[in-house]
Amino acid sequence: MTARSLQSGAPARERAATPSTWSRIWQNDAPGYLFLLPWLIGFIGLTVGPMVTSLYLSFTDFDLLTSPDWVGADNYIRMFTNDAKFWTSMRVTMFFVIFSVPLKLAFALAVAMLLNRGIRGLPLYRALFYLPSLLGASVAIAILWRQIFAGDGLVNKLLLLVGIEGPSWISNPQYSLWTLIVLSIWQFGSPMIIFLAGLRQIPTDMYEAASLDGASKWRQFVKITLPLLTPVVFFNAIIQTIEAFKSFTPAFIISGGTGNPINSTLFYTLYLYQEAFAFFRMGYASALAWVLLAVVGVFTAFSFFTSKYWVHYDE
């Protein structure tokens, strides 16, 4: 096997020119499409149709029970000019994204680093830390969160020990969104596992070499771990952001699908769900969905654009 030096982890921004082995064009394309085939079949056969349909529905008035009526851009116009709840839900979601994603990622990375050390009982800890994520959308979580964050909950009992009388965090509109942010961070299992898998892919001999050279641990982290981990960091950041924008379940189970108190946890997709299935406005809900797609799409495109400058692939 070819030896790889320390520098190979450093940026190699230029894409390799056309590979030499497959020079002819059709030979160049065929293998790629062959490997892509299952996905292509699924995409064209199962995914595109419903997506395009929902785009069409966003220009209609569709009550689910009778056939859709074309209304042009009415849904979009209403959304931006005459729908306070649209802006409320957008604001709630933005706030959630801005605070939950970085905190969750930082937490997940820190714990993954900690668990990547050679310590005893590693598999056990890893499993324990993944437990909250296993619980998913269980009713138990809603009950538990109330026991922790209600007025007479665990948090306030602890605060009382230092003489502070706390509010009912979960049902006070000023703080309720924060309890959902905490919930999201608490379920940090999946980014943690992905970070761990990423850390595992970094060859140990690179650290051995570095530590022989007398590099400090912090320096190893900055010079080896971080650069080699950037593809995974990038992935987690993009995915967690998309997921946070689409976040539905936590608010749904904690607020019983209402987004209350006073719409303080009315996530965008929760509002969309209400419009679609509680108020029979699938056309409007579809328009909401495509606006979300545009927002998330712009964000993702921007991230890909900047990734050239900080994500290091071995190519």
């Binding site: 009912s168 006070n172 209400q274």
Partner: protein
Amino acid sequence: MTIRIDRRHFLMGSSALIAAGAAGISPAFAQAERLRMLFWGGQARADRTYAVTDLYQAAKGTDVEGEFLAWNDYWPKLATQTAGGNAPDIIQMDYRYIVEYAQRNAIAPLDEFVGGALKLDDFDADQLEGGKVDGSLYGISLGANSVALMVNTTAFEEAGVAAPTRDLTYDEIMAMGEAFNSANVRGGMKVIMDGSGSEPMLDNWLRQKGLALYTADGKLGFDADAMTEWFQLWSQMREAGVCVSAEDQALDTGPHETTMLVLGKAAMMPSNSNQLVGFQAVMQDDITISSYPRLAAGVGGGHYRKPSMFFSVAGSSANKEAAAEFLSFFVNDPEAAAVLGVERGIPCSAAVRDAIAPTLSEQDQIALNFVANLGDLLGPLPPSPPAAAGEIDISLLRTLSQEVGFGARSPEDAGPYFVTEATAILNRA
């Protein structure tokens, strides 16, 4: 080396799964003539319902395949199946959605079967009326119930306060609340939850004033002043500590385990007569039901016997007559009635009611007696609510009551705001 072994394990595991999957992946769904039925409810309801479908199969030979879901899961599934042209033949329907489904022909008018496949001779007139939309019969009421206060009698004993009777008034609640507070029951239990966001309670209060939530032509049946007065009434109770705080009330998101009653924060809460059993099951204190409070002594007419739920037949069903026949069996057959009890509400046929009365449990008896003896509390059946009623309840009334509760809006401001917004929602739908 380890990889190799692991992969072989992996492949062995997967081929076993494929073998298992091949057997189970497409169960044979080919079947003879049968009806599909979808209903919401818990296990207790399902057990009774399936017992009736078994009886029906034994009697008539028609197989009724029932599927049940929790309330929250029921509506998306029904909407999806209906939109996908795959609605079940028999659909359990709620008062709130019947207009929506009827006006869009998602459920079928049943008038043509009445007297034939569908025997309703003995049926209570108000319950029959409740299943009509624009003059046609779209739903067969499966039982009547009434709004009722759940009362924690153990807590009342602890407070040294006499439990409420059917003559309870809003003023008396104020007095009870003060007695509760001075007795300091269980570290601050209040006498009642904050009912300002409860649509049935508002409805009941309006009806006692001779108003209505909605008029027959689907407009708002009251003005901004009435709404302001409603919010003021509850603000007064909140400030006096008679009802629970806004923070506590906001913990209630619908399920039983989030209610002020079960959480032990209030000794009374507005609910329905048929939910006594459900609440008692998750509580250690003794509970009973009583009527909603009166505006003043002697004022009644707020309650009505509401169809707790209906069975409707899908507009797309190919077996409407067979479905109607099953419905007839479901509400009339004595054996079926004995199985069903009052789980879905008080049966609408007098003969059935008499037949099952002796077989009921204590709590069921309480519910039956309550609904049967409303007396002067009973008023006329209101018209079916307009399709937008659900949206006004969920996204306006509840949110607004919280805004007032948390002090984000004054009652004087909230009253006119409610009327403006509700009218806008009604006009949009």
